[in-house]
Amino acid sequence: MTTFADVRSRLARPQQRRYLPLYATLALLALMYGSGVAQYEAFSDPQVVLNVFIDNGFLLVVAVGMTFVILTGGIDLSVGAVVALTTMVSATLLQEQGWPAFTVLPLVLLIGATLGFGMGCIIHYFEIQPFIVTLAGMFLARGLCYTIGTSSITIDDPFWTRMAQSKVRFGDNFISPSVIIALVVVLVAVYVLAFTRLGRNTYAIGGNPRSAHLMGLPIARTRIAVYTISGFCSALGGVLLSFYMLSGNSLHAVGMELDAIAAVVIGGTLLTGGSGFVLGTVLGVLVLGLIQTLITFDGRLSSWWTKIVIGALLFAFILLQRLITPRKR
């Protein structure tokens, strides 16, 4: 039987300290879920949680890509715009050009990855801050959306509608195929970060770029790779969003980059890089989703309260990170 003191002394061990934000997010999640169950009878239906996944699958994929970037100490502001661009390109190619789904799919993923690759190259070789480069990338992608069209394009491609409407059932409950895709992305990301040289170099560069340089680590390759991954994840997130919405729209995913960053930070990844987990990001996305669900269940609050709560949580988690990271002299 473990007592509270046991847990506390275990957490105080330096080895465990990096998991502290993860535990904090987990506790927060349990608290939110518990309060939901206590207040609303219908909340205890497992489908509530599954719906959070269904409604946030695209955000999860985008946030996983963002985790890679933030682990190197960078930032990617272009993800929301790339998501929107993907929905627009998919919609117009499917609806107006009549391209088959299985040509459109790889093409949009390639576009996303290429955009990320380009931004990574500029960031590394011209030594420009990721903030500026990806801000420019954001304007570029959002602008391209509007050159394709300014109004919403409804998608009625059979593959897209099947992905949108089919349900993967187990028992009384179900999830969408998008959730499965998102979970596969999460699994792959967990493995890449934990068990590959790319993953280890990502942590090493984020933890101390100067020491990484003096170890001869492939900094160029790694940094470009993380932005490419983020671009690819954004495009995949865009595909999932277009499954979900069955439309392409230049106004899709406005501000999603900030939701993704919030999820990553609430999930315990250090904004300065070098420490964090993809599983934390999953928890972060769930926190955002559950806040939304709680506010919907309440029914009296405006949904904009979601933003206020997310803001407060972000602040709390940044403070927590300040407390647990070793101070520089």
Binding site: P14, Q15, T196, R197, R200, Y203, H213, M215, G216, G274
Partner: protein, 512 residues
């Protein structure tokens, strides 16, 4: 004119774990140029930080009397208010502001309504520039000036604050010969105007040329104050005070059996990355298998710069010279190539450049040679932990597990992690830059033992150190470096602290 402007009495300053200054006293006479010298880490800069209020009253013991009155400084503003101005080695100018803006930063010339009177600012700045002999437009940005001229702007800034005691920390370290001579001339002129000056310097030829008295500090204590006004005080006289550090560590015995040559550099020249000066100038040296070679040099001599430029050109620009490994010419243009050629470099600043402090011991040990543990990009995690465990046992790294973050270990154990990392790359030559800096005596002995074991295995080791007893205790041969040039090569049985220090301070005669 022989009264004291400043008296510091019984100054003791402790940092966690070390006593930087122990009962130091310093008396500076009005209208003199007073030099302070001592080896790296003797406590010179700490003493000046105490004097200028960087370390406020209360954080040290002792008393400061300035102009006959005891003074208590809570910060730099307080010391500047009574006329003590310090110019640090790293200049503190704002690069994109104009010369005039820099001079009056925090001390702006104000006109009506509290707004800055730019005409007066620029006119006053022009006057100050004339008095330091700098012919520049006060509105041009500081970034356009070379270091020498920036130094003069700093002095003009000090003059604008009605300085009575000017402190210069290594003012000529970054200057070329012409600029140095110019600066020393200016200091003489300021002295004639009645400004007292304290100058920290490693350059003994400058001290003998300009100083009226010299205080020597060693290991945080005042050794002596030498009156230089009569002339006839030689550099050797000062060196005698500087060295003679006690042997505070034991050095494990080693039978030296040097084998064949492993690394040789010839005519190695490195330029400063931004300034127009050579940091390493035509250096040549060799290291043999089973040999420990020392590099001695004072701060700014170019020791680290030499090592890092050899290690994949990780420092400097326009690196030229020839590099041979086992007699074969090799190119090491990147760090990865250098590691591939069997060179390893453990940095002097392990926290900033050597380790990923927030990552665990395991990841730090394997990071530089992760390729040996992976196949097609996938890391063999079990093998990796085994390697880290072996390092932990081999080098006796004291950590609860190899999964603990390196930042939580003590300095000595962090250094062992750095060594483990490089040993795992299986180098032929290891360059250790200040391998025992900031670690306790017991851990030092362990590091020495590890070095001995490595040379016994036939590796070549280069040790860069500021501690002469350490070099004398560990090395087979010692090179001395001064202002980027190799000024001597001594077998250890011919070397003493005095001979080394004389070579380390040997410079070309001053121009002009």
């Amino acid at each position: 004119m022989d009264d004291a402007i400043l008296e510091m009495r019984g100054i003791t300053k402790r940092f966690p774990g070390v006593t930087a200054l122990e009962d130091v006293s310093l008396t500076v006479r009005r209208g003199q140029i007073h030099a302070i010298c001592g080896e790296n880490g003797a406590g010179k800069s700490t003493l000046m930080k105490v004097l200028s209020g960087v370390y406020p009253t209360g954080s040290y013991d002792g008393e400061i009397v300035f102009e006959g009155r005891p003074v208590h400084f809570g910060g730099i503003r307080d010391s500047e208010a009574v006329g003590i101005v310090i110019i640090h080695q790293e200049l503190a100018l704002v690069p994109y502001l104009s010369i005039a803006e820099n001079i009056f930063l925090g001390n702006e010339r104000r006109g009506r309504g509290g707004f800055i009177d730019w005409n007066r600012t620029n006119a006053d700045a022009a006057g100050l520039l004339a008095s330091v002999g700098l012919d520049e437009n006060p509105v041009s940005p500081v970034i356009q000036l070379g270091v020498g001229k920036q130094q003069l702007v700093e002095i003009a800034k000090a003059l604008s604050k009605e300085v009575r005691l000017l402190i210069l920390d290594e003012p000529t370290a970054a200057l070329n010969d012409v600029d140095s001579a110019h600066l020393l001339d200016l200091l003489r002129r300021l002295r004639d105007r009645g400004i007292t000056c304290i100058m920290i310097s490693h350059k003994l030829n400058e001290i003998t040329a300009i100083a009226d008295s010299t205080t020597v500090i060693r290991d945080g204590r005042t050794v002596e104050t030498i009156d230089m006004r009569g002339g006839g005080v030689t550099q050797e006289r000062i060196i005698r005070g500087m060295v003679g550090r006690d042997l505070d560590s034991f050095y494990p015995d080693r039978v030296s059996t040097p084998g064949e040559e492993v690394l040789r550099i010839e005519d190695w020249t490195v330029w400063h990355p931004v300034q127009h000066r050579k940091v390493v100038d035509g250096a040549s040296l060799t290291v043999r298998a089973g040999e420990v070679v020392g590099i001695a040099g004072l701060m700014g001599a170019g020791r680290t710069e030499l090592a890092m430029s050899v290690f994949g050109r990780s420092y400097g620009r326009d690196v030229s010279g020839r590099l041979y490994m086992r007699g074969r010419p090799v190119k090491a243009r990147t760090v990865a190539e250098a590691i591939g050629n069997g060179i390893a470099y453990a940095t002097e600043d392990r926290k900033r450049y050597g380790l990923n402090l927030i990552a665990d011991v395991r990841a730090n040990v394997s990071a530089a040679a992760l390729g040996k543990l992976s196949r097609a990009g996938w890391v063999n995690g079990n093998e990796e932990i085994k390697v880290a465990e072996e390092s932990r046992q081999d080098l006796n790294i004291k950590t609860p597990t190899v999964m603990d973050p390196v930042g939580t270990l003590s300095g000595g154990n962090q250094q062992k992690v750095v060594l483990s990392k490089w040993l795992f790359t299986d180098p032929d030559v290891l360059i250790l830059d200040e391998p025992t800096r900031g670690i306790d005596v017991g851990a030092k002995f362990e590091i020495y033992t590890i070095i001995n074991r490595l040379v016994a295995q036939g590796k070549a080791v280069i040790v860069i150190s500021s501690e002469l007893p350490e070099l004398l205790g560990m090395c087979d041969r010692i090179y001395t470096l001064s202002a980027g040039r190799i000024t001597g090569e001594l077998a250890v049985d011919q070397a003493t602290q005095e001979t080394l220090m004389a070579l380390m301070t040997k410079e070309k005669e001053l121009a002009g």
